[in-house]
């Protein structure tokens, strides 16, 4: 079964929800922010005044910058993980009773725990979808660009540029370039969902908050796997570490069709000014030869 939610139905639901939907988003944002920003033993700043260019630069994950010396041992096992998964990782790494575990053992354990945490939030629709989804149907195999959520959760480096009225986030190859409006505008009403949806941002102390709505049904993360309906919205919260070298992201997906509760995933990137964004042609893959 495909997650193709009738756009008319989705729009009517969204219109009916109206302010209630916004309240859900705001409530989720407040709830997830209460989880705190003390992540993986690195202090992240919440109280400082944000500088105009606080988030600018090229930020990398361990997937493309594994040899960077500033990764902590926790970082090296990090993923788009739930808070519960990170707590489990902390036990595995820091309790000497687990020193018999190899890196592969720990990676596998973390992956299993993270999958269980995510699948535990699945609605019946999501469970049914997961049973029938074929990874060969991933449209990016045919060179279709990622939508908003998959772009946010992807591993490749990102370039953040801050302007007076918007923020630009650019990625590499299959990811999509994003514009986040920070000029105080609201989301447009009654807009048809699109792969990137519509994003607005604001600052809460030194945290950049991004709200995205009107995203069409798509793959949000194919390895976990997470799929979103066109009723999904998200809140991203970006906080830079006090020394400026790390960017912590807390991503909350609110999707009443696919998840019984907001799904919260976290990840940290490193500032990597030595990295360039690269580009190359895409050639689709058939899976046959």
């Amino acid at each position: 079964m495909k997650i193709v939610v009738n756009p008319i139905r989705a729009l009517s639901i969204r219109a009916a929800l109206g302010r209630f939907h916004r309240l859900i988003l705001a409530g989720a944002a407040i709830a997830v922010s209460c989880l705190g920003c003390l992540t993986l033993g690195v202090r992240f700043s919440e109280a400082q005044e944000v500088l105009p260019s606080a988030f600018e630069g090229i930020w990398s994950t361990t997937v493309t910058a594994i040899t960077h010396p500033d990764w902590t041992i926790d970082d090296l096992f990090a993923c788009n993980c739930t808070r519960e998964t990170y707590e489990y990782l902390d036990q595995l790494l820091h309790d000497p009773a687990n020193d018999h575990l190899s890196a592969a053992d720990i990676q596998q354990a973390i992956r299993g725990r993270n999958l269980a945490a995510i699948e535990g939030l699945f609605t019946e629709t999501a469970k049914e979808y997961a049973l029938t989804y074929d990874h060969a149907d991933d449209p990016s195999i045919q060179c279709e660009y990622f939508g908003a959520f998959r772009t946010v959760l992807h591993n490749d480096p990102i370039l953040i540029e801050q302007y007076e009225d918007h923020i630009s986030i650019k990625g590499e190859d299959m990811t999509s370039d994003r514009i986040i409006y920070t000029d105080g505008r609201s989301h447009p009403e009654n807009e048809t969902p699109s792969p990137l949806g519509h994003s607005i941002g604001w600052y809460e102390g030194s945290t950049l908050v991004v709200e995205t709505i009107n995203v069409s049904a798509n793959i949000a993360e194919d390895n976990l796997p997470i799929h979103n309906s066109d009723e999904a919205s998200s809140i991203e919260r970006y906080t830079r570490s006090e020394d400026g070298s790390r960017l912590h992201m807390e991503f909350t997906l609110i999707d009443p069709v696919m998840f019984n509760e907001p799904l919260v995933l976290e990840r940290t990137r490193l500032l990597t000014p030595e990295v360039d964004l690269l580009d190359a042609p895409c050639e689709s893959i058939s899976g046959e030869f």
């Binding site: 594994i66 991933d138 190359a280 042609p281």
Partner: protein, 147 residues
Amino acid sequence: MTGKDLILICGALLVSISAPAHHNPAAHYLVDERMQITGVVTEFRAVNPHARIYFNAVNAEGAQEAWMAEGDSIINLRRAGWTDDQLKPGDRIRILGRPSRTGSNLVEWTFITLPNGTEVGGGNGQQGERLRIIEARLEEFRQQRGQ
């Protein structure tokens, strides 16, 4: 000497872990199985979403077959030091990787061994190399914590 050996084995390199570059390998490959194959490169294509190696291999009956191997995105391979002519026609290579789920002559490589014995990674997500680095850092971390 060449051909294909389908091997079902366990071990650190064979665990289906971590995040590939773009796509879940289950799209086209049997993620829990591994095969080895030796062949001669006919073309290396430096493209996304995955770089490709076209090569010829000799099957168990002694006949030559055309194969294609997929690795990481060329972007990530360049970042890891690969060049767009990393492999040239005529290069003899041995590939360890995942076999096609449809039985096609496809393999998703994890490691490639060159004729001089040099092992280059470059598989989807470069998981093999990454795991080795993490394993070394983990050992170092445990030693320091124990001091």
